[in-house]
């Protein structure tokens, strides 16, 4: 690896070059004092430089090997989906929230973002026999909105549904699988992190690396919500932007490496246009964030019912849903749109 590849200021790279250090290996085994002498710089600068070399240079990040699109096609067709339990929405999504992708849930307060997130943390655990992902979930709660009690109620409703499905199909294997599950088991497999500020959120996401390496069965990471801590405390716009970028980068890496689904909840904000004195509701975190996700689901109200609108990722369309005691469900007589 060349010195110029290191994340160092160009002036320092130039100094290294002039002193004859062109590859990282040249710096191997040199002490900070020696380097300071060679480069005519202060020892503290030299030791900082070496620290940067050690952290970046000596371990080149290995990009995963190439996969052919044919294999990916196979994976896409046969990998499990995380069902939303709203049939019309699952149809739009091609069976549910896909693995290996970043999905954004955005909507006005109280429309059901958290409800859907909690439910996904449960439906990701649906056993393989029922064509589920049979995985565990990580729930990063930034707003204190995860309610174990609510999750428990939804878990019981989900189990009732599985029992009924097995019963209808008269499938003994399914019935046995459903009977062996308890709501408490489902809750055990939701790993909740409660974070209190943006720095903690970033640290948590980074440390997930180790957690996911230990727990290979995790198939879903929920961040509810990404927006909250970035809307205060991080007043420096550039810093905020960078932190958000690092967050997405880490999450999308996990998504591919551990083939899991990442669901990020976003808030909305009122954007006032001074020129025309009009205002509109838009997803928070700005335009550059909008690039981060592969699938965008906008939850909003339409004529008194809740609607989930698929805006990015697949053919756009919308589906009505309701939030009931059991969780997020289809409405009785759904109208569905393909935006035609």
């Amino acid at each position: 690896m060349e010195v110029s590849q290191l994340p160092l200021p160009p002036s320092m790279v130039e100094m290294l070059h002039l002193a004859g250090f062109s590859v990282v290996a040249d710096l191997d085994g040199i002490s900070a004092l020696e380097l300071a002498d060679e480069l005519k710089m202060s020892p503290s600068d030299a030791s900082q430089l070496l620290a940067s070399v050690r952290s970046h240079g000596l371990r080149t990040p290995r990009a995963p090997p190439a996969t052919s699109a044919l294999e990916l096609l196979h994976d896409e067709r046969h990998s499990e989906k995380i069902v939303t339990a709203v049939k019309e929405l699952d149809d739009l999504l091609g069976g549910g929230i896909p693995l290996r992708q970043l999905t954004e849930l955005v909507g006005v307060p109280g429309v059901g973002k958290t409800q859907l997130s909690i439910q996904l943390a449960l439906t990701v655990q649906i056993p393989r026999l029922f064509h589920g992902a049979e995985g565990e979930a990580v729930y990063i709660d930034t707003e204190g909105s995860f309610m174990a009690e609510r999750a428990h109620a939804m878990a019981e409703a989900l189990l009732r549904h599985l029992h009924a499905t097995a019963h209808r199909a008269a499938d003994h294997a399914q019935a046995a699988a459903a009977a062996s599950l308890r709501a408490s088991h489902l809750l055990e497999r939701i790993h909740c992190f409660r974070v209190h500020d943006a720095a903690e959120l970033l640290a948590t996401v980074r440390s997930l690396n180790f957690f996911l390496a230990e727990r290979k069965t995790v198939k879903l990471v929920v961040v509810d919500s990404v927006a909250f801590h970035f809307r205060h405390g991080v007043s420096d716009y550039t810093r905020r932007h960078q932190m958000l970028g690092q967050l997405t980068q880490a999450l999308s890496e996990y998504a591919t490496r551990h083939s899991l689904s990442v669901v990020m909840v976003n808030q909305v904000t009122t954007k006032v246009n001074d020129a025309t004195n009009t205002s509109s509701i838009q997803p928070a975190l700005g335009e550059s964030w909008a690039h981060a996700c592969n699938i965008q689901l906008v939850l909003h109200w339409m004529n008194g019912t809740r609607v989930a609108r698929l805006c990015k990722g697949r053919e756009p369309g919308w589906a009505e849903y309701q939030v009931t005691e059991e969780g997020v469900r289809s409405v009785q007589n759904p109208t569905r749109g393909a935006d035609t």
Partner: protein, 365 residues
Amino acid sequence: MKRLLSQPPVSAPADQVAAVLPHVRRIEDFVSRAVVSESLAQAIAAPHLAGPLALRQLALDVSTQLRPRLERASEVYERQMAQDTLLKTGARLLDEALGGGVATGEVTELIGPPLAGKSQLAMAMCAQQLASTSSRVLFVDTCCGFRAERVYQMMGTVAHKMTREQRKERLGQLLVRCATSLLALLEVVDQLSSELAAGGGGGMRLFVIDSVYSALIGDHTNISCSATGAQVARLQQSLRRLASYHRLAVVLINSAIPVSSSRDAVLSGSSQAPLPQQVVGCHQQFWRAALGQQWLHTADVRIALRPDPDASPELFPIPHLLSIIKCSLSERNIATADDCISLTITSRGVHAEMRSTQRTLDFRC
């Protein structure tokens, strides 16, 4: 490359070279950056190995052989004409506007805000390329956005005569690599260039990165000031070299970020508000390409995309507007100076039609 291939193997004593640099067989092996800089430097700096003098001679030889030579412009032109092809995008009108398609040996950049159809267009290009030849295509996915199913679907439209098995076989020629950070992206580019230098690559003509912005999003704010800047510059250089040296069509996707005024905007048009029901007023928005001024020099051809501001957000398929804002050949510019191409993305693929528009583009950036 042909010039080098005809040269004899390295002139230094073969056993000595093999002892120090076991993987160096031919001059071409030196082309790979890693060998020239790293291994050779190490080898020369290791006096306990046999024949340091011979190795110095070797280094000299290599640099002589790799030294560029003066050539007649006519020769270069003819060689390029013979080597280069134009890859179809799949949208006929866009191909025409581009003078036949995306040229190999050039870097083409697709720029646009979210939901502008950048990835769709890139995947359409892949589908078109796979349908027409059996050569390899490399797709670098930095944001988990690649969908094999979508490419397969588009191939079905382009090559309706192909059987499913044939299509799947061709799909096997499309290689996808993930690189979520700048360093990983650099590594992928380096690996590709050494692979191509060694004669591999399976006749690759198309190389796509979707998107450069996502790979840089974690540290790209530092671009102008320091370290990342150096790495971005290297990426820029590698990509350009990759295109011209190996006659690849390099297609990059870059994001557009909103700017407050039209002064430094590169394309104008209203942003498609994701909450169509709640928009009270529609406001004009201006965009410019992300990654700063320096990055603008990367691409030979720049294509700007955005959702059609005049279209109803309820409309499906969503129409996109496309315009060519930089082009290496002047004749291609003329066709699109005032006109936009309206690009429709359906489940079948991308379809382009001409559209006269009042919104002229701002070329200032």
